[in-house]
């Protein structure tokens, strides 16, 4: 349904999108994930014909967006990053305008009632858009994209500015739409991707870092078994003891979670179960274990690993991204692990796509 081939967009000598290729089959919901400035919006703007690519092609339902723009655009509903709303119109007038602009066929009233219902904005249809709250404006933007039930929906951060209840509502709407439409949506919110997308593309600096199902991504990143262990005792002594256990590849301190107890991330060699040796070694040294669990990689971690490139310049951005997700995961001071994972696993994985 959507085919993107060797897409490049250069601004000056900086590539915002750098040789991107992927396809989206009919009826799929594809998540587009990446840090700020990754090139998500740029890709979507090219796909919808707002800007032209420097090179490469984007095809929608067999129509090239540059060669047959009118046909291609008829298939697309686009919700841009900033919803394009005429502030001086009422919601209904605006949707009527979009209906006419898109040369939608069929009954106008029915089409508009339908999108009012889908975006749950029936109760504000007579209001001037200027007077709506940000969340409602976002929903009017979504309604606009849905008019005429286009085969392809391109949604740039569709849940931005909504409250948690609305977010869940809109996610369900999108999921429902996904049964009949092909959808690309971009987001910073990782749980959102696992909640609604069938496939994820993680992009960073205009390049694809990974492309897979949310589950698979989590699976293939967790092959190096890591443990999170909370241990009471002198930090240096604990580290010393842990490092002497057979099969332990790498140890670092995560953070102090309780008085006198630290959390440690212990990485084992492949195919080693180090839990028992770990227990005995620590017991012998008189260092009680308060808890021990597998360090599950969430999409957050995968995301961090794939998009980390080791440069210090990226760090503040990464922390901001983490803070944004409001996860419990705290930024690790020691990013060497992440870097290594990227070098060892991430890039290989990405390159064989």
């Amino acid at each position: 349904m959507i085919e993107i081939k060797n897409l490049v967009k250069r601004y000056g000598n900086k590539a915002a999108v750098d040789n991107l290729s992927f396809t989206v089959p009919k009826g799929e919901i594809l998540g587009f994930l990446g840090p700020n400035g990754a090139g998500k919006t740029t890709t979507m703007n090219i796909l919808t014909g707002y800007i032209a690519s420097t090179s490469g092609t984007a095809t929608i339902a067999g129509y090239d967006i540059l060669e047959q723009p009118i046909e291609a655009k008829k298939k697309i509903g686009y919700l841009p990053e900033q919803p394009p709303l005429y502030m001086d119109m009422t919601v209904q007038e605006y949707l009527q305008f979009v209906f006419e602009l898109k040369k939608t066929s069929g009954n106008k009233r029915k089409a508009i009632d339908n999108v009012l219902e889908l975006a749950r904005i029936g109760d504000v249809k007579g209001r001037i858009i200027k007077n709506l709250s940000k969340g409602y404006r976002q929903r009017v933007g979504l309604a606009q994209a849905l008019i005429g039930s286009p085969e392809v929906l391109v949604l740039d951060e569709p849940t931005v500015g909504l409250d948690p209840k609305q977010i869940i509502e809109i996610r369900n709407v999108i999921k429902d739409l996904g049964k009949e439409h092909t959808i690309i949506l971009s987001t910073h919110i990782l749980p959102e991707v696992s909640a609604i997308c069938e496939r994820v593309i993680i992009i960073n600096k205009g390049k694809i870092a990974a492309i897979d199902t949310p589950d698979n991504l989590a699976k293939r990143m967790s092959h190096d078994s890591r443990l999170s262990v909370r241990i009471v005792g002198d930090q240096q002594q604990v580290l010393q003891t842990l490092r002497n256990v057979e099969g332990v590849k790498h140890v670092h301190t995560d953070s102090m979670k309780e008085p006198s107890a630290y959390d440690y991330i212990v990485e084992a060699e492949k195919d080693f179960d180090i839990r028992q040796p770990l227990f005995f070694a620590l017991a012998q040294g008189g260092m009680p274990i308060l808890h021990m669990k597998n360090f599950d990689m969430s999409l957050e971690d995968i995301f961090m690993q794939l998009t980390a490139d080791g440069s210090k310049a990226l760090r503040p951005e990464k922390k901001k991204a983490i803070a944004q997700e409001k996860t419990e995961l705290e930024p690790t001071e020691d990013t060497i692990d992440a870097e290594q994972a990227t070098k060892n696993g991430g890039e290989e994985d990405a390159s064989d796509l």
């Binding site: 707002y50 800007i51 032209a52 841009p80 394009p84 709303l85 005429y86 502030m87 006419e100 602009l101």
Partner: protein, 235 residues
């Protein structure tokens, strides 16, 4: 194109701009009509319209300044350019809307000609028609220029100021031509002057070359506007 025309035309009257424009235009027209015709017992409709062409120069920048600039600032161009309509129909729809507002305002002045007849004066029909046709053609070319300038910036005020500068230059082309030594250069400058092409219309003389001048100005600037928008997608 119809959707864009309708939206733009209505937009003029949901913001103060449309009312300011039409209001000032009609006020000035009424003033000139009273002072130049009624108070002085003159049935010269040509002089009335010559004054109105100056009013046009001062009002058109306000009329056209937001046509494309405001939309781009509010990212509304994203909706238009990703819809299944050509850039030409977007631009032309906007041109027609601005033109229609102006034509409606000019339409009100038909009252004045009726007053002429009611008062027993009989200006020639050819002159009346000539003035209206000429005036509308001139208005069209000014709007096309203003539209083009508004496509170059996201700032309405900049668009208005640049339009004023452009119209001021066009205004003084006649004077420039008279000061130019080289007769050929003078001819070229004279040809560029919108006022020089209005003279015949104002006397009720239809000259194809004059109409061609205005129509090609419209075509040229509509085309240039399309090119600017097209070009920006590639930058």
């Amino acid at each position: 194109m119809l959707a864009i025309f309708k939206r733009e035309f209505k937009g003029y009257f949901t913001s103060p701009i449309g009312f300011i424009f039409v209001g000032i235009f009609l006020f000035m027209a009424g003033l000139y009509f009273y002072v130049g015709n009624l108070a002085t017992n003159s049935a010269d409709i040509g002089s009335l319209f010559r004054q109105l062409t100056f009013v046009l120069m001062f009002l058109t920048p306000i009329h056209t300044m937001r046509l494309l600039s405001e939309e781009r600032r509010a990212k509304l161009d994203q909706l238009l350019l990703t819809s299944p309509v050509s850039i030409l129909s977007i631009v032309f729809g906007k041109f027609l809307a601005a033109f229609a507002v102006l034509a409606a305002a000019a339409g009100v002045t038909v009252l004045y000609t009726i007053i002429f007849f009611a008062l027993g004066a009989h200006p020639s029909f050819a002159q009346i028609i000539g003035n209206y046709v000429g005036f509308l053609l001139m208005a069209g070319s000014f709007i096309a220029i203003g539209l083009f300038i508004s496509s170059l910036t996201v700032n309405q005020v900049v668009a208005a100021v640049v339009s004023y500068a452009t119209f001021f230059f066009l205004l003084i082309t006649g004077w420039l031509a008279s000061k130019t030594q080289d007769p050929n250069t003078a001819k070229v400058i004279e040809y560029l002057s919108p006022n020089s092409h209005y003279r015949n219309f104002s006397l009720g003389i239809f000259n194809v070359a004059d109409a061609v001048y205005y129509l090609s100005m419209i075509a040229l600037f509509v085309f240039l506007t399309v090119r600017v928008i097209e070009k920006r997608r590639w930058s």
